[in-house]
Assembly symmetry: C2
Homo-oligomer: 418 residues x 2
């Protein structure tokens, strides 16, 4: 393989190149599912894949594959890649980094070693973010059975264009290309930006993801008494804002004292009547809780809900709540994680065992094959922003780790393995 310096240059160039598809005037990137920018990006990637010697094909959902057919076990597919879509005004790295790193790996592996024993594929997943339509993981979901071409969700974008129509307009949909569902995958490794500050603060180039956190999201409604801000003594108030403030601080304290990797967030708060001289009678607010262990997460959620009800009772406030999202934690495959760690060690690359606080395609793929993830550092933890940035040196190091791991999985040995 080329040197890290060469890889660094290559990847830096490729990141810039791909970011032109859907480039915003402010330096950001907007590549929403099935839009012209998205389609051109997939077509340009397909061209690059073919230049690298890969066979390319789409599936019905618009996932783009580049394939190196295996010589001994063509029916066993080792897969890498990530998603091509972005949020509105997103960055150049989220999703793209994993596709470009994977493509660099397959190009060089093929150039150096020819065809693998197992089939090696790279995928540019059509959608992960849920930025155009109110669904997420449309790409990996169709591969794994969470979504299906036979039941296209009846959703529309902000302009009223349905998902089915947008898909057809872009040249995709049932029967247009290969079926989406994959039954031949033996491993999936996704390289992705961390979107957090852990690696940067630790000054480490690589995070080996141990698991993707579980999430619980709840909405609480606090009902007090709307009253006159001038004539109502402090002791007689049933102030929904003050009650919510106490709950918010209790949540923060609880998460802090539970320690990493617990995170808890009140991100949304709607006050009524929301007038400066009226004591608020009503507040709706959300709580987002995450932890990689299902039992810890559940216990944490229970503790929070109990604490909130006790605060409400002390303040004579009415409280109600609704849990509207629950996603179990998804551990990464132990053997693959171990293999990635061994690769880092053999390459003398320092790494950090990390948990992903965000959702990723790998959590869907992990339902159908052993899956793992490599994280690269995000400068200042920023993502979903034009300021998203990952140092090309870090990206090159991680790409080398990915290439070596893919080599072991697809070129070495012959037994079915994780």
């Amino acid at each position: 393989m080329e040197s890290i310096a060469q890889l660094k240059q290559l990847l830096a160039n490729q990141v810039e190149w791909l970011s032109h598809y859907g480039a915003d005037s402010d330096g950001g990137v907007t590549r929403l599912l099935y839009t012209p920018a998205w389609l051109k990006a997939q077509q340009a990637l397909a061209e690059r894949m073919r230049e690298a010697g890969l066979d390319t094909y789409y599936d019905d959902a618009g996932n783009l594959y580049g394939r190196l057919e295996g010589t001994e076990h063509p029916e066993e597919v080792v897969l890498t890649g990530s998603h091509i879509d972005t949020v509105r005004s997103g960055g150049k790295y989220d999703g793209a980094a994993g596709i470009l790193a994977g493509l660099a790996c397959l190009r060089r592996l093929y150039a150096q070693f020819g065809r693998p024993k197992r089939t090696l594929e790279i995928v540019s997943l059509c959608e992960e973010e849920g930025s155009r339509f109110p669904i997420t993981f449309w790409g990996s979901g169709n591969m794994t059975g969470r979504w299906s071409m036979s039941r296209i969700p009846d959703v529309a974008d902000a302009e009223g264009v349905s998902l089915g129509q947008a898909m057809a307009d872009a040249g995709f949909g049932p029967g247009t290309h290969r079926p989406c569902r994959r039954y031949d995958l033996v491993s999936f490794i996704e390289l992705h930006i961390e979107q957090g500050m852990v690696l940067e603060r630790l000054e480490l180039p690589i995070g080996i993801v141990q698991g993707i956190v579980g999430q619980v999201r709840l909405t609480f409604e606090v009902c007090g008494e709307t009253n006159h801000a001038g004539t109502t003594r402090m002791a007689w108030r049933k102030d929904a804002v003050a009650g919510t403030a106490e709950m918010t601080l209790a949540l923060e304290r609880e998460a802090r004292s539970a320690g990493d990797p617990y995170v808890a967030t009140v991100g949304k708060m709607v006050v009524a009547p929301n007038v400066s001289n009226v004591i608020a009678g009503n507040v709706l607010f959300t709580v987002d809780l995450r932890h990689p262990d299902a039992l810890s997460l559940e216990a944490f959620a229970r503790r929070i809900v109990e604490r909130f009800y006790s605060i409400a009772a002390e303040r004579s406030l009415q409280l109600s709540h609704r849990q509207w999202m629950h996603a179990d934690p998804v551990p990464m495959n132990e053997e693959l994680v171990h293999r990635l760690e061994q690769t880092c060690k053999s390459l003398q690359v320092s790494y950090h065992e990390i948990h992903s606080g965000a959702g990723h395609d790998a959590q869907l793929l992990s339902a159908v094959c052993p899956s793992a993830m490599l994280f690269v550092p995000s400068r200042a933890g920023i993502s979903h922003s034009p300021d998203e940035y990952t140092d090309a040196q870090d990206l090159a190091v991680a790409t080398r780790v990915l290439a070596d791991t893919l080599y072991q999985l697809a070129y070495v040995g012959g037994q079915r393995q994780a």
Copy 2:
């Protein structure tokens, strides 16, 4: 004068009668400035005033007066009354109680004692609430020089109708009636509902207002860092919502420990981006502070602002603030307050020395003549609501106190007095 039982029945009937003008289907009352309901209410009141033997007239702003010309000092006017307008979906008592009590007083004083030595007038002020146009005290403001017919504010209602146009449509405006500005007032006494819970909790029928609180209103902007709710460790967050929660609780604690009559309210809060899975980078919130003593209020405001900046600094949040309202406390006239207290004592009516936490027309009138206020209890402290209620017995007792005081001011003695 008639017995309290008779007065009680009379006032209960009159409250119901007046509430038909602008009656909402839910039992509330909506009488916005210069609307047909408002005009009919003024016209109906004028009719009742004339039935009671009063001379009636309007001023250019639409304030309605009923007058008993003084026999000895017609140029010295003792005034009572309150405002006829309501908030949207308001109650039957806010403003109306003071007009109806005053009218009952003048009717009976005239019937029993004939014309007074000083002129005695009742006023049905055209506007106090600021519910149709974004200005308040249009009625008493025109009497006292805060507002002027020569500079009609360029404001419009929700439908785009200007104040000047609405006034003209209702038959008012510069030169249509008598000039608004009054230079002949020697005292003003306003009876009004408390709009708080103090009298009800103390089980007292009357509050003698010592002063109207000063108000400071501020808007704070907390700037942190918008970040991913899943990937940002608790320790690394700059969470504008959590910071605001800590400030809100600190404010509540400070006001509670300062004790009555301090009140402090966060009534409005706007979070950005206000999304459940994003740590909020920005919160705008308001603080409403009130206290009857100017120096205490100022010190309190200074303490709060300092505390907030220290909380922001501890959390590495940026804070800015703007004080957009400052109204000095308005003490009521000592001699009039003393006279009201003496009247209560002589009638063996228990009373409470109270501060008004809300603004009232009396605070404008106090700039041009000795002014005072009588409060009657509000059930559960509720006002600006169809549920607004004051027991007719309490209203009758207060009306008796008002009548006796007006008698002393207008019928007894001859020197100019407070």
